[in-house]
Amino acid sequence: MKKIELQLETLSCPSCIKRIEKALAKENGVEDAKVLFNSSKVKANFDEGIVTADHLSEMIEKLGYPVKKRKVS
């Protein structure tokens, strides 16, 4: 299990939280996806055998939220 942390551009609508969290929750190999609204960050644990960090950031960008910084640990 690896941890991914994405810094997004400033989130302004609280409904964005649900959108991102639901999309991540549907993804195989992703656990404990959490959106920090006030700091505009996404945190999640993922299984690198099933899904890649690249794929996750791409997915969030596709939802319409540009990723500014990514940290995987």
């Binding site: 551009e9 400033t10 302004s12 609280p14 409904s15 006030n38 700091s39 960050k41």
Partner: protein, 629 residues
């Protein structure tokens, strides 16, 4: 999706509105209406898009209400209303986003303090490296005006360091060899070399930022309630508006009802207050972990303090040695040798005193055994040594002859902890140890009471006489002395059973169970101790007791602010509703008032960023306090 695009739409729709106004003056009705319809579509499209997106997420949004109202207005030919509503809604949303950012500035200011690079000494050469490339064990050089980029121990030099980023205290702290320095702090003057212990995400500074980020998401009960409420409220309004239409057959009234019933201000009323309040705390070295903690803390009416290290400085020193049948140094030597491997802070104090007197601790202690909460046994140089409190000596049938007990009581009444030493079954002496009360302690207790704490309690493992003396000096209501660690937990439980809402203050390590049990657990001087930062609900990074009344007052102010916002938001909706029913408020004016109420709620929350406890200046503590334990 970005803000740029949003503001462009706002400007275009605003310009179109102005154009329509000019066509109106020129009496060109067709062109006026065209401009208005274009304005509505331009602004309305982005609102409708959001509305559709949230329906797909199975949630009803404010945008949905507005979209329906706008379509309705277009349908009945109210183009002015539809254009004005969409413009106002978008413009309001833009202003809202801008001012919301302000409530987040505290965290941003903190993050901006994050160090970027550091000077590392490698093979005798100075290299400047970005922080990501620094590893634990590197030797870092920090000069006047530079920022510390790692957590570590000073190995050379000395400096005054401004630790405001960590502790909120802006008076520089003196640091010398073996002192701990933290990432994010700034060397005011001096020069130090530091061995990096924690780097990157592991530093106290990074942990603080992470904690604050998480705390700002931690929802208050009020907030959770509001969110559930909004989930029912929005679809409820849709149903209600249908009913309004059926009864009144008045489309305009129905649409106005839809718009003004938007729960915009209500939904953000609680979170904006919390984010501002938590941000304020973080800047002053007080991490309040989330909305629920804020609410709990504001309701506290009993505060339990651990004495050593909390009300006192936690730096005890030996004040007197009373030896029986041997010299002071002989007694000290045997005791220190026995205590050498003890981790107890009083034991370490005795060892330190021996070292300071230049006594060589040559004998190794054997058969070392600790009786937790009482003392210890050891065999040193073939002699059986028992060190601890009165009870431990009594349990070993060592009698306190020749007025030894009277002497000990006398020492205790002076505020010392008396350590009894028994050697080979006979009492060999008393070592008195005292710890200074923190200069700000008296004031802290006074202020807590001023803000509404009914009961202050001190718990200590120390003897009764000392405990009572400290309590009397500080104005603490109740004292419980000679307590074992587990007694503290029981005591907190008892207070809770009596109906008190209890806050427990400790160092977060020894008191972890009691801190976890209390409604609100506070850990002091937690910078650098991960365990304490994790267990406590309120983390005081610095070692200042006076942050406790500050955090308490801040919690109260935040909860009050949250309530003001809620009442204001509900009140506005109620007034607007009345206005609609009386025919005084229409679509566009309703939207305007609605947006203004949203901004008013944010502005009110922003006051919390500037919150300052009344009379919270850096006080001069002139009262002298005698040495105490």
């Amino acid at each position: 999706m970005g803000k740029l695009k949003k503001i462009h739409i706002v400007i275009i729709s605003g310009l179109l509105l102005a154009t329509a106004f000019m066509f109106n003056l020129a009496g060109m009705d067709f062109w006026k209406n065209t401009a208005l319809i274009v304005a509505t579509v331009v602004a309305g499209w982005s609102i409708a898009k959001t509305a559709i997106q949230s329906i797909m997420m199975k949630s009803f949004s404010i945008e949905l209400l507005v979209t329906i109202a706008v379509i309705g207005a277009l349908f009945i030919g109210e183009y002015v209303e539809s254009a004005a509503v969409t413009f106002l809604f978008l413009f309001g949303a833009y202003l809202e986003a801008r001012s919301l950012e302000k409530t987040r500035t505290s965290l941003k200011t903190l993050m901006d303090m994050a160090p970027l690079e550091a000077t590392v000494l490698k093979n005798g050469e100075r290299v400047t490296l970005p922080v990501e490339e620094i590893e634990a064990g590197d030797r870092i050089i920090i000069q006047s005006g530079e920022q510390v980029a790692i957590d570590g121990k000073v190995v050379s030099g000395q400096a005054h360091i401004n630790e405001a980023a960590i502790t909120g205290e802006s008076i520089p702290a003196g640091k010398k060899i073996d002192d701990q320095v933290f990432s994010g702090t700034i060397v005011d003057n001096g020069y130090i070399e530091v061995i990096a212990e924690k780097v990157g995400d592991d530093t106290a500074f990074s942990k603080i930022i992470e904690l604050v980020e998480e705390a700002q998401e931690g929802k208050a009960r009020t907030q959770k309630f509001l969110e559930r409420f909004a989930n029912v409220y929005t679809p409820g309004i849709l149903v209600l508006s249908v009913i309004v239409f059926i009864f009144t057959r008045n489309i305009e009234l129905t649409l106005t009802f839809l718009v003004i019933a938007c729960p915009g201000a209500l939904v953000i009323s609680a979170p904006v207050s919390l984010v501002s309040g938590i941000g304020n705390g973080a800047r002053s070295g007080t991490l309040i972990k989330g909305g629920e903690v804020m609410e709990n803390f504001a309701k506290i009416d009993a505060v339990v303090f651990d004495k050593t290290g909390t009300l006192t400085q936690g730096k005890p020193s030996v004040t007197a040695i009373h030896a029986i049948g041997m010299s002071e140094d002989e007694l000290l030597k045997l005791t220190a040798e026995a205590e050498l491997i003890s981790e107890h802070h009083l034991g370490q104090t005795i060892v330190k005193e021996a070292e300071e007197r230049g006594i060589n601790l040559t004998n190794e202690a054997k058969d070392f055994a600790v009786e937790k909460g009482y003392g210890l046994y050891a065999t040193v140089a073939g002699r059986r040594v028992v060190i601890g409190n009165r009870k431990l000596l009594a349990a070993n049938e060592i009698e306190l002859e020749g007025g030894v007990d009277d002497y000990a009581i006398g020492e205790e009444k002076l505020g010392n902890t008396a350590i009894f030493v028994g050697i080979d079954g006979l009492v060999a002496g008393i070592i008195s140890i005292a710890d200074q009360i923190r200069p700000e302690a008296i004031d802290t207790i006074k202020r807590l009471k001023k803000y509404g704490v009914k009961e202050t309690i001190m718990l200590t493992g120390d003897n009764k006489h000392t405990a009572e003396k400290v309590a009397a000096q500080l104005g603490i209501d109740t004292v419980h002395a000679e307590m074992l660690p587990e007694d503290k937990v029981t005591h907190v439980k008892q207070l809770q059973e009596k109906g008190y809402r209890v806050a427990m203050v400790g160092d977060g390590i020894n008191d972890a169970p009691a801190i976890a049990l209390a409604e609100v657990g506070l850990a002091m001087g937690a910078a650098g101790t991960d365990a304490a930062m994790e267990t406590a609900d309120v983390v005081l990074m610095g070692d200042q007791l006076n942050r406790i009344p500050y955090a308490y007052a801040l919690s109260k102010a935040t909860v009050r602010n949250m309530k003001q916002n809620m009442f204001f938001a509900v009140g506005t909706v109620a007034l607007l509703l009345a206005g609609v029913l009386l025919g005084k408020v229409f679509l566009a004016s309703g939207m305007l008032i609605h947006e203004l109420s949203v901004l008013a709620v944010i502005v009110n929350a922003l006051r919390l960023i500037r919150f300052k406890e009344a009379g919270d200046k850096e006080k001069q503590y002139t009262e002298s306090i005698p040495e105490m334990n």
